[in-house]
């Protein structure tokens, strides 16, 4: 089909589109994965913090200095 042959320039046109798509999708996937990883890490850190004595004090369960 003449569309895929791109008037003889297929070897230049299609790699251009392919590499553009690859890089853009790749950027998106890396960014999403980084975001999910960081959300998970933050949740774990917040949970660990809340379960310590410091966390209990923050929640106003005991002691002075907790202005929650």
């Amino acid at each position: 089909m003449s569309f895929f042959e791109m008037g003889g320039y297929a070897g230049f046109v299609w790699p251009s589109y392919a590499i553009t798509a690859l890089v853009m999708v790749g950027l998106l996937m890396v960014s999403l994965r980084e975001l999910r990883d960081r959300e998970r890490t933050l949740a774990a850190l917040e949970a660990a913090r809340d379960s310590t004595r410091l966390g209990r004090r923050r929640r106003g369960e005991s002691g002075p200095g907790s202005a929650a």
Binding site: T20, L28, R38, R58
Partner: protein, 287 residues
Amino acid sequence: MVLPGRLGTMGRSWLDKEGAAPIMRPYKSSWTMHRFANPARFSRLSRALLPWCAAGTLVTLALGLYFGLFVAPADYQQGESVRIMYVHVPAAWMALFIYSGIALASAIALIWRHPLADLAAKASSPVGAAFTFLALMTGSLWGKPMWGTWWVWDARLTSVLVLFFLYLGHMALLNAFDDPLRGRRAAAILALVGFVNVPIIKFSVDWWNTLHQPASVFRLGGPTIDPSMLWPLLLMGLGFTLFYVSLLLLRIRSELLAARIRVLQIEAAGGSAADAMATPFGAAPHA
């Protein structure tokens, strides 16, 4: 006030103003007056805007690709190879646009110490580098059949290559220091110093004898490109821009989380509140 989801306590610690430890005050005046310096507020904005930006990206790219590949005619000189223009030119536009954005964000970060500006610059850098790479690569693939060469050291190509190195330098500086704030400051200075390259790139085809063709869209006297080709090109440009905005919303949110993680890790390792507040994203008021 507690936000739903995993950002619940993060939102709470930023919004609590009563009981803020006195040591927080030196940072308060410089950034709490900026509305979206509040990370929880930015996250809400990001979540609200993202679906629209993502949908807009998909629609404009789909339309641009359809019109560019199927409807627009071949060029009378370049034949079907002109279709590379619909990815090459938007990528080059993004390379320049993003660098300009980084320079602006860097100026705001240095002058007003706005932490979101810092993070916007950091989040944008790899995206700009990727688009610069794409501009160079697709340009090469277009140059080989049209000019007979993959590369030539003319003013336009050389200055875009320099732009690519500036992006890489920016990214390297961001990660070169133990204290992320110093890295962001150094990178901001590089971004501003390198900004002179942007007008050089833009006017290179006028100031020097270049193999690269002169401007055919953004020029005095209006575009010289046929509307049947201009509209797909503009659609692709808009699509790439919306893609960048969507990505930026995600990446800034990610940087905010990373800053918060760093604070908690320092705290957990036994650092004092003062240690944790070495960055603008200080510890929770209760230390």
